[in-house]
Subunit: 229 residues, 3 copies
Amino acid sequence: MESYKEISDALEEAGNDDSVLTVFTGYGDYFTSGNDLNNALRRSNGNLEDMITESSNVVRNFVCKFIDFPKPLVAMVNGPAIGIGTTILGLCDLVYASDQATFNTPFSKLGQHPEACSSYTFPRIMGLSKAIEVLLFNKTLTAREACNLGLVTEVFPDSTFQQEVWSRLKSYATFPKNCLALSKQLVRSVDNEKLHTVCVKEMELLIKRANSEDALNAIQQFFSRKSKM
Amino acid sequence: MESYKEISDALEEAGNDDSVLTVFTGYGDYFTSGNDLNNALRRSNGNLEDMITESSNVVRNFVCKFIDFPKPLVAMVNGPAIGIGTTILGLCDLVYASDQATFNTPFSKLGQHPEACSSYTFPRIMGLSKAIEVLLFNKTLTAREACNLGLVTEVFPDSTFQQEVWSRLKSYATFPKNCLALSKQLVRSVDNEKLHTVCVKEMELLIKRANSEDALNAIQQFFSRKSKM
Amino acid sequence: MESYKEISDALEEAGNDDSVLTVFTGYGDYFTSGNDLNNALRRSNGNLEDMITESSNVVRNFVCKFIDFPKPLVAMVNGPAIGIGTTILGLCDLVYASDQATFNTPFSKLGQHPEACSSYTFPRIMGLSKAIEVLLFNKTLTAREACNLGLVTEVFPDSTFQQEVWSRLKSYATFPKNCLALSKQLVRSVDNEKLHTVCVKEMELLIKRANSEDALNAIQQFFSRKSKM
């Protein structure tokens, strides 16, 4: 949960600073490793319902920062993106991916549900019949597939990924700041209200389902598999 | 009209049974052969207006079953899909096609209009300028083209189509039932009301136009061509 | 500005005549060369604010003609399409392009913003992360790229472009007129109100920004580069 808060705070700051655009990327081999279930469970020694409500508020605040981000937001996907690391890309303005990146949302296996507005953005980006296979049936997309489906703007060879993307972003950063910000807000304003509604709906379902048999079974199975490894 | 009623009833039943997902496919070489105009005309010995109103209610009820279907609905397109057999795919969650499948909506030639919410779903899936060529100008899509446009999830060689798809679906059927159903409903809920509005609008146009000169000419030409064959 | 008025008048006339569909294309090597800034500036000897208000009314009227056009509207893109020549394609029903066509919207460099409803149509046609690179970051699309993204219906070799497209359009022109018009209106009616709202919003931003430092700097730089050539 701490990392959600840290990213939310960083976005709040970046939204107000003098930069022309904001970039976020992963460290090491992964872009994101998904929600840390271990961490979430360890906290569950306290009151479970309180924890769920608190966690969902943190995640909703995190997603809202992406919905309302006032200037171009660039995702550099350096490796596998899992869970919210994939779904949040539907709210990013530019998504550059290494050819080593993959995109996976293992919600159903964990008894979970699409979040970060992906229940809205993914069908609009790639069409319903592609989005359902990703969001419900755990299909992993390669970088090339994600690019063909419109989730990713462009794919680069991993060996030159950093160099090529940063060089392009430096050039983009010379564009007039206000102009870019206002154009982005124009493009996004049509969906803004709808996205907030969808985010609330998604979080309500997650809260309602957090104690469901499906979810508890899935988490139990997940850890029993993990402990056998 | 009987087949619409039968499918509607089957969907009503499947929606309420214990299965995790529902599959529909065609028998023989075709997926669908379009509305049976012969049948519709033969019935026109009775009161034409009554027949049109009754038919349109049957079709609207059929489409509503797809809009509101509460769990993942899979279409296996085993061969040519014509008319509503193509348009209804925009309301299906997964669409698997044999490489022998083709997709055709010969509405304009018959003086008819897009239905099954395709006037809404097709532009959103493939973009306006592709959708118009299909819906208005009778363009036939190959399975590969339909897949690239997002109407089809994946294409399989005809020789292994049944085997590969059923094997995948068996694996999907092990996913937690409630979880899939709720995720599907989440994804679809945003468009649900709009889809019902669109369906009513489409049926109103079809009713208004059922006796138009265009439509009667087109049907006459269709049968005069047919009788020359 | 005169050319906007002329095209608006021509569309008004074409919308009401007996033709089945309407085609517009460019003359010579270009499809459009963008707004003629020289012309706009030359007029600025008069009251600048009056001129901006008048110009924006002319452009809004032009865009409204595309939103409300009552029959299929075909764009034949014979060469480079710049600025509004690219953005307006999102409102066209069929877009055929020569393989020599390119698509470019250099808004940000000129301190300008997306218009012709492209802030709405482009993300829906190609997905957000592709649309932003085009609309905000000046990315030029080849004909093939624009076709893969759904902005263009089909690409033809330049040498046979005119012949192939006109031959197809002659065949399309034999389809029943009312049927096509009503189908088109059905497809477009869902978005109609939203498109008018978006168009007003886009023009408000352009008016508000016409005297901004960004815009004046960009125009100054544009002409200083031009005078050095």
